[in-house]
Point group: C2
Chain length 336, copies 2
DNA sequence: GGGGGTTCCGGAAGCGGTTCCGGCACCGGG
DNA sequence: CCCGGTGCCGGAACCGCTTCCGGAACCCCC
């Protein structure tokens, strides 16, 4: 029972007799022993860990956002099954020498086998260096791409289309959009879906009916106020995030406007909050866990097959109708 | 410039001449080199990593809960500053040999220098084995203890007292509690604070006025229905979590009972949702990030000083008054 | 019965650092 | 001038594993 033999049974090499194999396994169990990860890493170069980059802190409250946690959960599940671990790192500078600054450096330092990127600026030079390094990367909801880096996102276009179709079916003709930032993938895609579906149904959006927000509640609040001041106020508004929808709801309530009797509101994301709002928010359900799983699976495949290209994956969404969307008010049903 | 010399400058040994030191550092910068973590770990036995245990999945939606994310954020910040990384692991079984099942095994396997424990059953035998292993541990909101394991929690007793005092000052005399599970530390402490403050103010709770929930919305909803059916319904209810408060709000709304005009509702946690509810929820603010930071600091101290005992830390909370609490209704002001 | 194949296992060389130990150069003092 | 210190640095062992290589034992067949 030399170390070499033990190593062989651990790695399922064929050239070990059944008897020896059994004896080794028994001893391992009996000693409650487990091989040292660092030593194994050092010898093989395989760390069995994937990194997660997500910006935290002021201006980037992303770890806060429930959506990212769902993603994280799905990711953890899938890579965990394969014996991989998750290593979180943010942008915080560290003091120790060698834990150096750049993401790429740190990734190499840990010999990460892959990394998933969430909520960082897509023009960040550090991230760029990382994505072009050859290390498999998957971004969430951001259209990074390159040789070994792909991304996964919800079907934002279809989701937005679903939302406006639902509103149109309820009789609405004056449908506004509180959009996301124009420099984010979900922001532009949801805008695109909104525009496209409107056109497909023979309707059009007025210039004053689309206003840009930042996905967070306050921007939804302000956007709604702006919309209410428009010459021809909409009877329905589709917000590109639930949080903005919540802000919009607040603005409406302050004006004494009843939802959905006077105006309908639709969100996007279906965060836990959505069902807790009054009225409960109709929204487009995004499956964060599935996104995480998809990213994890893609990553795992890429590490397994070195010349596999990075995929771009879109996962379906579905409409969840709750209390905040209803038929167009009778007195404007003819109008528009 | 032998490897030995490089290692000496990296670790700030004194026996290197300034000139050599400078030359080494320059070369390191120029090569964009960073020492291999695994090799260093192997040689020193120090992983510079702390583990995070948190149960995920059905029945344990804890990664979901905003509170835990705040904690995670604070923790990441503090340990990151010291060059430590966070390793997440859940309870999911892994397939690879050696990533063996038990937490303790995995902790040893990674040579974790400490671990923080969130949201797992306190009687879990695996966790127990871990806490008695000598590895520094800090639990969040759970009163684990032992040689090297302490915990940090919010000042739940004081928070609950704050809540009832606020309600009493508004004139309420009939104050109900929707409590947390009796087998969780926050659950019992918030109940204790509620009882104690009531007594201190010369009031008493009726048996029917305290009902136990599970911290999640549905239980708050059901609890509220139960309270409304009581012989002498309360004019104010203090829920031991915001989510339960949200459930209670929903129950009240369905009955057409206006908040806070007819009954006041107070929550606990101050999750982002709280300010988005209508009416905005008055609640006891819990500083999740501070909890995470405190746990991280304690852990770091324990790894630095091997015979330091594990502390138990409580961090202060504060009352946030929003729209869901108001003066007792005029028609019952004399009663109670 | 000896040669050539299999099957199974131990030896040993790394992986990339840390750290002990010993040696060289240089210093001051007797 | 020689000796003991001191300041710096290189050699080498070691951490615990993987993996190549070679060898012992055994079988089969001519």
């Amino acid at each position: 029972m030399s170390v070499a033999t033990v190593s062989r049974v651990l790695n399922d090499y064929p050239d070990v007799s059944d008897e020896t194999r059994e004896r080794v396994l028994a001893t391992i169990r009996e000693m409650d022993w487990t091989p040292d990860r660092a030593a194994r890493l050092l010898a093989t170069g395989r760390s069995h860990t994937v990194g997660v980059i997500l910006e935290t802190g002021p201006g980037h409250p992303d770890l806060q956002h429930p959506f990212f946690q769902e993603v994280l959960g799905g990711l953890k599940g899938i890579v965990g099954e394969e014996g991989f671990d998750l290593l979180l790192f943010g942008s915080t500078r560290t003091r120790t020498v060698g834990s150096g600054s750049s993401f790429l450096n740190r990734a190499r330092h840990h010999r990460l086998e892959g990394v998933v990127i969430m909520g960082v600026d897509r023009n960040d030079p550090q991230v760029e260096a990382l994505t072009r390094s050859g290390i498999p990367c998957m971004a969430i909801d951001q259209d990074f791409s390159g040789g070994r880096t792909g991304y996964v996102s919800s079907d934002n276009v279809a989701g937005a289309a679903l939302a406006v179709r639902h509103l149109v079916e309820l009789g609405h003709r004056r449908i506004a959009l509180i959009g996301g930032p124009a420099d984010t993938r979900p922001g532009v895609d949801r805008l695109l879906g909104y525009r496209r579906e409107l056109r497909r149904l023979g309707l059009q959006s007025r210039p004053g009916w689309v206003v840009e927000g930042d996905f967070y509640p306050d921007s939804g609040y302000r956007a709604m106020q702006e919309l209410l001041g428009a010459a021809e106020p909409p009877t329905a508004v589709f917000a590109a995030s639930d949080l903005m929808a919540a802000g919009a709801l607040r603005a409406l309530e302050e004006r004494g406007i009843r939802v959905p009797d006077q105006v309908s509101v639709l969100g996007f994301d279906d965060i836990p909050l959505a069902s807790l709002l009054r009225p409960a928010l109709s929204t487009v359900h995004q499956d964060g866990e599935a996104l995480g799983r998809a990213a994890g699976e893609a990553l795992l495949q890429m590490v397994a097959e070195p010349d596999r290209e990075a995929p771009t994956i879109t996962v379906p969404v579905e409409l969840v109708i709750r209390g905040s969307s209803g038929p167009v008010p009778a007195d404007v049903a003819e109008g528009g």
